[in-house]
């Protein structure tokens, strides 16, 4: 399968990339790591007139500290996020979830920002991004703006990004010392999550002091399980207490039914996997 023809440009700075995007118009597509876009192009589900490849924009790669946050460049690969000492120390949930993305070859090419901007509801990095209250830094011709994760994911494959805007970095508040686990349910190796749960908790003594829980593929966008979080605060870090809190996981959700799972089964999975994720997190 061969993609339809397109024009190709590889800018070397964010400024050039934003300029190229404005010039190319609405039928342009931004190429990050290409691990979602290239299959779509090969199957001719999309036929953009121009591809703007960010692969040569060095400033978009890497992880740095900025006060109470980590700043992850949009073009940082999954492989580099997984292995980054800052991510491991201050954003364990993101490291755990990234470990589960696709397979090693895809993690070498695929990028954190690309996954976020693609906004596939089954993507594994959206729920952690939401649960950790990350912020998306967006560049356009008029300058930069910041959008909270809760406002960034709008619908299936749809974000707050305007056609002439670029996701340049993601600010992740430090969760230093928090335990984390990403519990993913799928049928075969490298398959998308049917449902997955991102959980990170701060434990004090034998109790849970704070908790953040995000759900993957329970709606068109990632979902925050606030009722679970509230029920976990102050609860003892025991399997029984965690199971009781996890029973709230599907509250307010209305997932789709498809060939993989009916809606009520997805809700069952959300409760069960939340229990497993939080239990694994506190014991890790």
């Amino acid at each position: 399968m061969i993609p339809a023809a397109f024009d190709y440009t590889a800018p070397s700075t964010v400024e050039e990339a934003v300029g190229a995007l404005a010039e190319a118009g609405e039928d342009a597509k931004v190429l990050g790591g290409g691990q979602s876009l290239l299959p779509v192009l090969r199957m001719r589900l999309a036929a953009p007139t121009t591809l703007i490849d960010l692969g040569k924009v060095a400033e978009l790669r890497g992880v740095r500290e900025d006060g109470g946050a980590l700043v992850i460049g949009a073009m940082t690969t999954h492989y580099d996020v997984q292995r980054d000492p800052l991510v491991q120390q201050h954003a364990a949930l993101l490291a755990r979830a990234t470990d589960t993305v696709a397979d090693p070859q895809v993690r070498h090419r695929g990028t954190f920002g690309g996954s976020i901007a693609h906004a596939d509801p089954a993507g594994d990095l959206l729920a952690p991004a939401l649960a950790m209250d990350t912020e998306m830094v967006i560049a356009g011709q008029g300058g930069r703006r910041t959008v909270a994760a809760a406002d960034f994911f709008v619908d299936y494959f749809t974000t707050a990004l305007e056609p002439d805007e670029l996701l340049v970095e993601v600010r992740v508040p430090k969760h230093t010392g928090w335990h984390a686990h990403y519990e993913k349910f799928n049928r075969v190796a490298q398959a998308w999550s049917i449902v997955a749960v991102a959980a990170t908790v701060r434990v004090e003594g034998t109790s849970i002091a704070e908790a953040r829980v995000g759900l993957t593929n329970m709606a068109a966008t990632p979902v925050r399980a606030h009722a679970v979080e509230n029920a976990l605060v102050g609860a003892p870090a025991t399997p029984e207490a965690i199971r009781a809190a996890a029973a709230h996981a599907a509250e307010g959700t209305s997932p789709t039914s498809d060939g993989n799972a009916d809606a009520d089964y997805r809700q069952h999975l959300a409760r069960t996997l939340t229990g497993r994720a939080v239990t694994a997190a506190v014991s890790g």
């Binding site: 399968m1 061969i2 993609p3 339809a4 023809a5 397109f6 024009d7 190709y8 590889a10 190429l31 290409g34 691990q35 290239l38 299959p39 192009l41 090969r42 199957m43 591809l51 490849d53 692969g55 790669r61 890497g62 992880v63 740095r64 500290e65 940082t76 492989y79 580099d80 996020v81 292995r83 980054d84 000492p85 800052l86 696709a102 397979d103 090693p104 070859q105 895809v106 070498h108 090419r109 190796a189 490298q190």
Partner: protein, 182 residues
């Protein structure tokens, strides 16, 4: 569009259409048919090559994205007619039947060992998650990778070490991502 790529140690300058996939460039323009097209949907990993020292599915990379990069394929592994220890281990352990997945399996196995020189069985299976084999049931593939890991370790003998080191040298660019403030 003009690209400059080093493939298996030889530098090539070629004109390609932007939409040309790396695997098609390797096979059709360079004649390196050792790398195969399997599923064409990024699932099977048969087309795995190394791009600047990291395994990638070459059906999911554009040739233009490889401009200025170093590509290593299954065809670049043997030295002076001697199979690479990983190739030899696949042969010795009957790790193939039809052989279609083998180029990708071998390239991904080498990538795995570059990160983890002595993987246990579970780690081998995780490391080969992106490669499908429809014949063997994987058992002998896992054996082969662990066999090769043993043979590629220091002290395995001069000839094996020489070949292994040459491949390992290509991974010398592997350093953790910069965490500096710049």
């Amino acid at each position: 569009m003009r690209i400059s790529v080093t493939v298996d140690g030889t530098k090539y300058d070629d004109d390609v259409e932007p939409r040309t996939l790396l695997v098609h460039y390797l096979r059709e323009q360079l004649g390196k048919t050792g790398t195969v097209v399997g599923c064409d949907t990024s699932n099977c990993g048969a087309c795995t090559v190394h791009l600047d020292g990291h395994s990638v599915k070459s059906c999911s990379v554009l040739a233009v994205q490889a401009d200025g990069c170093e590509v290593n394929t299954i065809e670049g592994l043997e030295r002076d007619g001697q199979l690479h220890p990983m190739q030899q281990a696949f042969h010795d352990n009957h790790a193939l039947q039809c052989g279609f997945c083998t180029p990708g399996m071998i390239m991904q196995s080498l990538d795995l060992l570059a990160d983890n020189p002595n993987p246990n069985e579970h780690e081998v299976r995780e490391g080969l998650e992106g490669n499908l084999c429809r014949c063997t049931g994987y058992q002998n593939i896992v054996r082969a990778v662990q066999d090769a890991a043993g043979k590629m370790s220091p002290g395995a003998g001069p000839e094996v070490e020489r070949v292994a080191n040459e491949v390992a040298g290509r991974h010398s660019a592997r350093t953790p991502v910069s965490s500096g403030g710049e």
